[in-house]
């Protein structure tokens, strides 16, 4: 009995291995969405090979929401392109998506998997965030596979090489807007709450550097910088620090899920302080989690769903229709745009080879949710953001809040 049990156990695992080696790396755990998306058109265009895109993102773990949204954005773009007859005269698009769990180890493994899969011609969505992105980037670069991140902000990311692109604000770019926020909302004593993470540490350092430069001209001072570690749920010690420093405005450098917990606990003690969140807080899940406590929060995003841009309207409508009325966030919009620009590069090159895409994407441009999108010599896209305030659980645009950086600096003196 005992022997039999352990034998069964061993056999099960051995079988799973055999299953793997026989099909090699072509077995892919495609999402359910994908199969439905591709089978619809498969009947008409069976004779043409599909064009396969790769996707790496956290589908489990703390940042699973962002990985899922990126994949959703890709699916919307692919469906749209396939419905228009595909690329290169009828070849359908397809995505192979793998869960990198938001860790460097898994990220590297997924990157190698995509590189080794010869069908994959480009990666419109590499890893969520810079810390996993920076592990994957050198691998993609070595292999000559074009990869775009829709969320990395670290300056080194796109500097990795000519295969690595960033369809998001750079850290310096994002800081220019984040630094305007306290000024716009009329902060006097600003408290910074930051997570001890790659992003939190470098963003705080960048913010403090700006304050050093312009601190005597802006209307606010940094009264307190309070740190917490990933996984914290009880912010009481941080809140005590902030209240003790007399902060009237709090800016929060971490994702929406942490921010919601923080806001709930802070509101119990001080209902009046103003909150500022970053782009990663712009998601309806913030309101779901935070409820009344996130009422009045100021934040910004590079996607404005209320924009009159027809491309944005088309994307938001398609996204909501496909995902039961869910609101897209900036990652979803960026991922959608990334597929579009890769599609443009493929059409421009007239081929879906890795090498051809690598050349074509340098000059490719496409009209999409971000306006006229193209990459500069560093491999970065130019992005602008819009400010929002949460009112009655809705993200309401605060018009004309941001100035161009030079104008902002000029307006100070």
């Amino acid at each position: 009995m005992k022997k039999a049990l352990s034998l069964v156990l061993a056999l099960a695992i051995a079988l799973s291995l055999v299953a793997c080696t026989s099909t090699g790396t072509t077995t892919t755990t495609t999402s359910e969405d994908q199969t439905t998306a591709t089978t619809e058109q498969a009947t008409e265009t069976q004779n043409l090979d599909p064009i396969v895109l790769g996707c790496s993102g956290p589908l489990t773990g703390n940042n699973a929401q962002f990985g899922e949204n990126a994949l959703n954005g890709i699916m919307v773009a692919i469906e749209e392109i396939n419905a228009d007859g595909g690329l290169l005269g009828g070849r359908m698009l397809e995505v192979r998506s793998y869960d990198d769990k938001g860790t460097g180890e898994e990220g590297a493994s997924v990157a190698e998997l995509l590189i080794s899969d010869e069908d994959v011609c480009a990666v419109p969505s590499a890893a969520y965030g810079s810390s996993v992105g920076l592990v994957e980037a050198p691998l993609f670069q070595e292999a000559g596979l074009v990869a775009i991140s829709n969320s990395a902000s670290h300056p080194d990311f796109s500097a990795t090489g000519d295969c690595i692109y960033r369809n998001n604000l750079t850290e310096a770019g994002e800081l220019q807007y984040a630094y305007q926020m306290p000024q716009v909302v009329g902060a006097k004593k600003l408290g910074i709450v930051s997570m001890m993470s790659e992003f939190g540490e470098s963003f705080t350092a960048g913010f403090e550097a700006l304050q050093e430069q312009y601190g005597d001209k802006v209307g606010f001072e940094i009264a307190c910088v309070s740190w917490f570690t990933d996984g914290t749920v009880d912010f009481a010690p941080n809140i005590a620090e902030l209240i003790n420093a007399g902060c009237d405005t709090i800016i929060f450098f971490a994702e929406y899920n942490n921010f919601a917990s923080f806001a709930i606990q802070y509101r119990k003690l001080d209902p009046n302080a103003q909150f500022i969140g970053l782009m990663t807080c712009y998601t309806p899940d913030l309101v779901n989690l935070g409820g009344d406590s996130v009422e009045g929060v100021y934040l910004y995003s590079c996607l404005n769903p209320n924009s009159t841009n027809p491309e944005v309207q088309k994307f938001v409508a398609a996204y909501k229709a496909k995902y039961d009325g869910a609101e897209p966030d900036f990652v979803a919009a960026n991922a959608y745009d990334s597929v579009k620009i890769i599609a443009a590069a493929i059409e421009q090159a007239g081929s879906a080879d890795r090498e051809a895409i690598r050349e074509a994407i340098k000059t490719a441009h496409v009209v999409c949710t971000a306006g006229d999108l193209s990459f500069d010599a560093n491999g970065d896209a130019v992005k602008s953001v819009v400010m929002f305030k949460i009112e009655n659980g809705q993200f309401i645009e605060v018009e004309g809040a941001f100035k161009l950086w030079d104008e902002f600096v000029a307006s100070l003196s």
């Binding site: 005992k2 156990l9 291995l17 790396t25 460097g104 590297a108 190698e112 001890m196 993470s197």
Partner: protein, 331 residues
């Protein structure tokens, strides 16, 4: 029937060198068979976990002490190695030596006071140590670069060729260290020291009565174990080329424990096969990767309950091997 069993086992015993040599040849020549970069990476990862399993086996399989802090020794080895390649560059191999030395030292510092604790308390102490190392790595920014982590860790260069994953160099580098680890474990197993460890595992008190300095023996084994984990830490750092405090989590320690228990505590071949099965399966069946830790948990429970000797039971089933020229009449 019984005789047949014994003959079969003896046959296996004789052919094991041939089988072993064939497997070794196959393993060494893997990069020539056009294995993809991804397969090489998985293979390298398996090798690193095999070293970790051998390392934990020294303390768990031989001395009967369960540690859940091996990820911490990996972290210490990796970080020490990185500091001595970046801040005080002394070259790859000396830095690797320093990394291993630091891990061994940490093993001594943790092992000396805690190994006198009884079984379960020692497990808890190693768990706490593991968490502590993580917090230190997060806060000691001047050395570890905090949560930002360290990127582009140097890779070894041999005869002017940088060993990368694409050229199979990383894989062979891992194989070299795996061979070294196997040799060390083999040497320990058949030494006086190794027999002392087995005696402690079977009966601590009796071992003490027999004149074995049990504390010293256990601590020495733990230091060796930590040093091997340090080797794995350095290999891991050069393979992934990115290290941050959350790289070395409790999950890694649990996986290693699972491998050791699955493979049969004390058996070295069992260790290798078990590593191969447990590390390759989530890669092979990515759809099942979600259930990975459920399966690991089941393995822990089932093995501990039904087959404590592991999947491949150690030497116990073989008849005692007689010296050459000595025969007994089996009737």
């Amino acid at each position: 029937m019984k005789n047949f069993d014994i003959k079969l086992l003896e046959g296996l015993e004789k052919s094991k060198y041939i089988v072993g040599a064939a497997v070794a040849l196959l393993v060494i020549s893997l990069p020539f068979f056009g294995a993809s970069q991804y397969l090489l990476r998985v293979a390298t990862n398996i090798g690193i976990y095999a070293i970790l399993a051998l390392s934990l086996n020294l303390i768990t399989g031989y001395a009967g002490q369960v540690s859940l802090g091996h990820a911490a020794f990996m972290a210490i080895g990796a970080y020490a190695f990185i500091v001595f390649t970046t801040k005080y560059p002394i070259g790859f191999f000396p830095a690797m030596g320093v990394g291993i030395l630091f891990s061994a030292l940490a093993g001594l510092i943790l092992g000396a006071p805690t190994l006198r604790l009884s079984g379960a308390y020692f497990v808890i102490a190693t768990t706490g140590f593991s968490e502590l190392v993580k917090v230190i790595a997060l806060n000691w920014k001047s050395v570890t670069n905090g949560a930002t982590g360290i990127r582009n860790i140097i890779r070894p260069t041999v005869f002017g060729i940088e060993l990368t994953n694409a050229n199979g160099g990383q894989y062979w580098f891992m194989l070299f260290w795996l061979a070294v680890s196997i040799y060390i474990c083999y040497a320990i197993k058949y030494s006086k020291f190794g027999r002392a460890l087995f005696a402690i595992r079977d009966d601590d008190l009796a071992a003490k009565m027999a004149g074995i300095n049990t504390s010293l023996t256990k601590v020495t084994a733990f230091v060796f174990s930590a040093a091997l984990a340090g080797v794995a830490g350095v290999l891991y750092a050069t393979m992934t080329r990115y290290v941050e405090p959350n790289t070395f989590t409790m999950d890694i320690s649990t996986i290693i424990l699972c491998i050791v228990i699955f493979g049969g505590m004390g058996s070295m071949v069992g260790m290798l096969i078990s590593t191969f099965l447990l590390i390759a399966f989530p890669e092979a069946l990515r759809a099942l990767a979600m259930y990975r830790f459920i399966i690991y948990g089941l393995i822990l429970i089932i093995m501990v309950r039904f087959r404590q000797q592991g999947l491949i039971s150690g030497v116990s089933k073989l008849p005692y091997k007689l010296p050459k020229g000595v025969y007994i009449d089996r009737g």
